[in-house]
Amino acid sequence: MGKYFQEEIETASREEIEQWQNDGIVDVVKRVYENVPYYREKMDALGVTPDDIKSTKDMHKLPFLTKDDLRDAYPYGLLARPLKDCVRIQSTSGTTGRRVVAFYTMNDIHLWDTCCARAIVAAGGTDEDVVHVSYGYGLFTGGPGLNGGSHMVGSLTLPMSSGNTDRQLQFMTDLGSTILCCTPSYAAYLAESIHERGIKDQIKLKAGIFGAEAWSEEMRKDIQEKLGIKAYDIYGLTEISGPGVSFECECQDGMHVNEDYFIPEIIDPKTGEPLPDGEKGELVFTSFAKEAFPLIRYRTKDITYITREKCKCGRTHARIHRLMGRTDDMLIIKGVNVFPSQVEEVLINQGMPANYQLIVDRVNNSDTLEVRVEMTPEMFSDELAAVEKKEKEIVAALKSMLGIYAKVKLVQPKSITRSEGKAVRVIDNRKI
């Protein structure tokens, strides 16, 4: 197996890609207008008909879709094919409100597996690899997605799911796992456990495909060093299919969007106006090739920018930059914009790739920020003064990064709440 899973598609010319997308948008708009009353009503309200959409240049005329739409239309309101054609349901890991469900026909599953197969091959995977999937399985798309992609590549697939670290490490050493797929925070945790047990020489990992949560370049360096691997970012969302909507190649310089299936746009989150390439804004996707659950102009709330320049790896599909936060992730504390990723950067710069959580509250009409940091062996000392010094250093570094004072509270390992393997990064107790 070579460098690409599907060379012709992954290295197609921009003209070809545009042709696929122009045909795709015309087709999908027609399909949803005819089959999905929810879309028809939204388009009618704006006075847009399928005839107005002749290419991607006309996309700005189409209404956006948000998570609220998906909740309103729950469960079957956005289905574009009869239920009997659907073979799978997946659901988002949302912790509040109604869950969002997505439907797949057999072809949709195939499309999704193909995306993940491209990601695995881009990370150096072949049919001789042992792919260790430690994403959760079930309604969450992480496990099933990489599992399907790994099958398609022909790799030996270990459906580990998350948790039970002892078993993870035992299989990893006994069965010689070469590619690890999980959340970056779980990868960091496994790296630490491997280090503690002194079994790094028994680990055969060469690459990791890590996604489903935002992570920083510093965290990548840390994981790469500790596990002796190359760590690849992968992006996706259940609404659009699952992991693999975009993925990193060996250049580790942005994630290639599978443009034969998805059209990415960047918009100004306030005005909804499309932004030019290179400008930072909200990522929007149209999954034109999907049969059961195609979404048109779905607002992801993820902030990034896009580049359509050909990558050094030879792939021509557009790249999105590492996620730079979420429109709904941004906290305004004492009037200052705070992103949880800034806290992560501070901790890693201080040599502490620790789990953390921001707790925001309002006391006597004034915002307070507490940053809980899980204690790590590196930070700990038998002397109180040394631990206090470390704590003060974090407070000072946070102050200089965020511009506001944050109280730092050192807590015991694993005491920060997790939801389906993802650490809950923010708890906002303000009643506004």
């Binding site: 002397e383 050192l410 015991q412 005491s415």
Partner: protein, 145 residues
């Protein structure tokens, strides 16, 4: 000569110290000494046990953050001013004591003092105490205490 002390990080929250002590009890760990220093949000528990290596592995496997530290244990003569004598020896030799605590050996009235000095000065501290005729405790001595 030194003995191994285990320091454990404990967050200040109700029941947490109980969780640690129950863990110690459940695994039949026989404590020689136990002290706690604390700040507002967390504390450090320092313990001396017979099998320091086994105990720290067990603690780490169960997600306790801990650290092994070399400390000096010395038998205190049972007479007034004994502590002053030891600190005097340290001062005379220009050795800084980071912290110290005392405990009583099992089945005796012997007081034992544990203190921590800079790692680079541990050997020197142990040597000067011995040369002053004081009994410095070895890990083997802990077996019978």
């Amino acid at each position: 000569m030194y003995i191994n002390q285990i320091s454990v990080f404990v967050e200040n929250k109700p029941g947490n110290l109980a969780a640690l002590t129950e863990f110690i009890a459940k695994h039949n760990i026989d404590l020689r000494a136990f002290t706690l220093v604390d700040s507002t949000d967390y504390g450090i528990v320092r313990i001396i046990v017979k099998d320091a290596f086994d105990t720290i592995t067990l603690l780490k496997d169960n997600d306790w953050i801990c650290k092994l530290t070399k400390v000096i244990g010395v038998k205190l003569p049972d007479k007034p001013g004994a502590m002053a004598t030891i600190m005097g020896i340290m001062a005379k030799n220009n050795i800084n004591v980071d912290y110290a605590y005392a405990f009583v050996a099992k089945g005796t009235t012997d007081a034992l003092m544990v203190f921590k000095v800079n790692e680079s000065e541990a050997e020197k501290a142990s040597a000067v105490l011995s040369s002053e005729g004081l009994k410095v405790i070895s890990p083997a001595d802990l077996e019978s205490m």
